[in-house]
Symmetry: C2
Subunit: 241 residues, 2 copies
DNA sequence: CCTTGACTGGTTGTCGACAATCAACATATA
DNA sequence: TATATGTTGATTGTCGACAACCAGTCAAGG
């Protein structure tokens, strides 16, 4: 029997669309989410849209102001700084758990991804680098095989680091070689099955990556991260798919 | 000007009520959440109830089965096991951050709470012990002063460890003295400002606490945690407040 | 000039009703 | 009897409409 992709509910689809629109920067931080407009954009009634927005709110991607208007969340420098040690802790835990059970094949897979990053970098394809970077970290999250951990990491990445993804594309290319080098060292530690070394290296790697990013980021006077485009005006989420 | 408690929205109130009902065990794991019934219980229409349930779903307190019916989540032994290292990592991070900035006054506050736990234990008031235990850990989460961390811990505690709270009340009393002792040692490490020691002690403490609990917990043949009452039948959340 | 109150347009909150789906039972057909 | 096909009741998904609320404007009154 052929496998069909299970049809997703209206709410899920809207949630995913909006989620992508926010994390990709198509909907800029601070811009409003008006139910009536989204209703027209998606061609559905307000109920499923409200539910989708509530989910985004729970994720921290959307905030509600004093007068209950919904906005795409603005991230401050402090938000980013706060997230650094948390993500570093979680990823290093993932590394520790993964180190105890990783197979040769999986190490080779990591190695392959790292080579692909190098390749993409030499071709100037920085977007692909960012993508592969996420893939690299996803692998040992999977190897760690801990649902609670997976969930926690995803929550952090989703709620706060989406702007990292969005900016990586066009400006952080200078930091990529360091990442590749650190990945290589982590791989060697995995090969040696040195659990403690892996753990501390991943912690440092994550801290390095985020701090490098932090240095290169621009914040306005209120400490709010700025995207490239004009601010404040709501832009549509193109209902892809 | 006197400070008024800001009135909460319908959805928030329903969310809190249901959340409490689940974490307290009033709504047992596996039991269904039927919108029509809740509609009657709360005396509102289905829209806000649906949104509240969606939030519970995002929290992991409610799951949707293959036929879209909503159930209070059943926790397996694996869920608990997965959460142990994650919470241990996060709390030890909190301890590390807190150790760097904790004041004498705050250490005394922790000391006071620990004494209160001891007092409550000697009076046989185990529910109060559980409550104070949470308070103890809340303090250094606050001292750590990291929103991302706070959020991550809260998410873990809320999504999975609610049953710990629910069971602590009536059976885990034997583990309390060990907790008190470990708290005491952590306090001494704080006083010495020994960051590394605090960090490792808190990690071990959390692992100990959860593992002690795990040993004393009962799971049925499918690994599903059992509460005291009858199973399967939905019970009402008393709309407190 | 300042305050107050009424009106307006825009937005979110809530509701009742209908459509779609599914489990369970009943019925028909071989 | 065994399988296939309606039918029913329960439950969730979606919708359009109305109520509540707020910012902004404007006019009346002091």
């Amino acid at each position: 029997m052929a496998e069909f992709p299970k049809p997703k509910s209206m709410v899920d689809q809207i949630y995913i669309s909006l989620s992508n629109a926010i994390t990709s920067g198509a909907l800029e931080p601070g811009c409003r989410l008006v139910e009536q407009e989204l209703q027209k954009d998606f061609g559905v009634s307000r109920a499923p849209i409200r539910e989708a927005i509530r989910l985004l709110e729970a994720d921290g991607l959307v905030v509600v102001d004093a007068y209950k208007k919904k906005h795409v969340r603005n991230l401050t420098r402090e938000d980013l700084v706060d997230n650094i040690p948390v993500l570093a802790s979680l990823e290093s835990l993932a590394a520790r758990l993964a180190a105890a059970r990783i197979t040769k094949k999986q190490i080779d897979e990591l190695d392959g991804i790292n080579r692909e990053i190098q390749q993409a970098f030499s071709e100037g394809n920085f977007a692909k680098c960012a993508e592969l970077n996420f893939a690299f970290h996803r692998v040992f999250l999977q190897v760690a095989d801990n649902k609670a951990l997976h969930r926690a990491v995803r929550s952090i990445v989703k709620s706060t680091l989406w702007l990292w993804l969005a900016s990586q594309y066009y400006k952080n290319s200078a930091t990529i070689p360091s990442s590749i080098e650190e990945h290589e060292q982590i791989l060697q530690a995995f090969r040696r099955k040195d659990v403690h070394l892996v753990e501390s290296m991943v912690r440092e790697h994550i801290e390095n990556v985020l701090e490098r990013f932090l240095k290169q980021s621009k914040f306005d006077t209120e400490g709010i991260y700025l995207f490239g485009g004009t601010k404040g005006q709501p832009r549509l989420a193109s209902p892809e798919n």
